[in-house]
Amino acid sequence: MLYFTFFLVAAAVAGTVPRARSHGAAVWELIVAMFEWFGDFAKFVTRVARAALTPPYEWRELLRQLDAIGAKSAPLVALAGAATGVVLSLQTRDSLARFGAKSMLPAIIVFSMIRETGPIITGLVVSGRVSAGIGAELGSMKVTEQIDAMEASAVDPYKFLAATRVVACILVLPLLTLIADFCGILMGWIANTLAQPVSPRFFLDNGFKDVVFSDFLPPTFKTAVFGFIIGGVACFQGMRTSGGTEGVGRSTTSAVVLSSLFVILADVLLVRLILFFYS
């Protein structure tokens, strides 16, 4: 697992590494590129964090980003959540029927939706949609010197462009997760009812009977971390774009690949962490 991850990360960040002469040299350059990437990313994040925390704040631009990132992702997230709910219901129903445990179905749908499926589906869907958008937008601003123009007119692009987007992602992900959870559970119920009618009341009572706050809050708020990853990686890749339109394409792709990858990795860590603290 660890090696695999390492390889993926290295391959993803190495887009800009020149062709090496031998395999040994190639691996070495990958490793160097990877450390450089993390170093630069850490610097970037520090700078963005400092910009985000020092007044004056960019409320207006933040609102615009909340709309562009949050409101405009909601339909997609709802759809993904709904589809997951249906699949979950169909799949689980079949398995449970075999063991004669069909009465567990509501609880299983609710639990898996709020504890893991909802958050990770939201994270992945948003990292596809949003990081591609941010990567391409900031990337083309970079190559057409619009970011330079902003800097020349004494506006800090780390504050105006990056901080607003990252903060918007952080705020919006937990909310989107709620939407995914809701749609997933709703569609889980509908799919269930089509096979065998159950009242929503019964479904919910049964589903939420054993749910406690710690089943719900930590997994929902861990998506704020996903939001940070998505916004941070996408802005970083966008703002370091070079090499014309091809470069914009490259940074868009790498923004999506890297943010999805890091969302999955972060999920693994966070799940372990949450289990450690809340069990």
Binding site: E145, D148, A149, S153, A154
Partner: protein, 248 residues
């Protein structure tokens, strides 16, 4: 206001800049005195645009000193640098308009950011600025919907929005017809006469430069090889200079 022993608002000493293995600037010395307009000439690819970007701190030099109003900008922290930048107007070679904002919003942007004007007053000011460069129509259009020359003029209006006292223009008249180019030249002359601004203007338009520039400098192989008024330069025997000014 002016200090008796004050140094020129733009003072560059022994500036060097390389990209990878390529030396672009190799010891540039340049001064633009208060109220003076300096035209920077040179062949394509000699580093004129790089020089201008260094002057606002968009890139950092390998070595050398850049002093703007007496402050060494290569060592300045971000906030202080931004204070200086508010009083500097920069026109990019490719205009670099914000492509998601309309013409009007582009010019409004610096005013929104750095002034407390009321919305009505701000609109009025934007209109004036655009009228000065002959762009009072097409306020609602996006940069992609206007021509390159028009973008350049909007870029100029944006650069002048905060009433800068130092302006750096990268080929303000390139890609414009002779009449519009002449009008832009006049805008620059007026700026100088009315507000005594200091200007560094990169241009290929020798004839235009003759009208608006007090002094011409010629960049070649990373250095300034000749400088002087147009008349001075005309007397030069140097082949390169002669060739350069022939059509001027």
């Amino acid at each position: 206001m002016e200090h008796p022993t004050a140094e020129a608002p733009v003072t560059v000493k022994d500036l060097r800049k390389t990209f990878g293995g390529q030396t672009v600037l190799n010891g540039v010395d340049l001064e633009a005195a208060q109220g003076e307009t300096v035209a920077v000439l040179g062949r394509s690819g000699t580093g004129k645009s790089v020089l201008l970007k260094l002057l606002v701190g968009l890139q950092s030099p390998d070595s050398g000193s850049i002093r703007i109003r007496g402050q060494e900008i290569t060592k300045l922290e971000e906030n202080r640098l931004n204070e200086l930048r508010k009083k500097m107007g920069f026109l990019f070679q490719q205009a670099a308009l914000y492509d998601s904002l309309t013409v009007e919003q582009n010019v409004e942007f610096p005013l929104m950011r750095h002034t407390r004007m009321a919305p009505g007053e701000r609109r009025q000011r934007v209109r004036e600025l655009l009228a000065d460069v002959g762009m009072e129509k097409d306020l609602e259009k996006l940069p992609s919907q206007i021509s390159g020359g028009m973008q350049k003029r909007v870029g100029l209006a944006r650069a002048l929005a905060l009433e800068p006292d130092i302006v750096l223009f990268d080929e303000p008249t390139a890609g414009l017809d002779p009449i519009t180019a002449g009008e832009i030249g006049k805008v620059i002359v007026q700026l100088k006469q009315k507000r005594k601004i200091t200007a560094v203007v990169v241009t290929h338009d020798v004839r235009g430069a003759r009208k608006f520039a007090d002094r011409l400098v010629l960049l070649r192989d990373g250095r300034i090889v000749t400088e002087g008024t147009f008349e001075n330069l005309q007397k030069s025997r140097d082949d390169f200079v002669v060739q350069f000014l022939r059509d001027g």
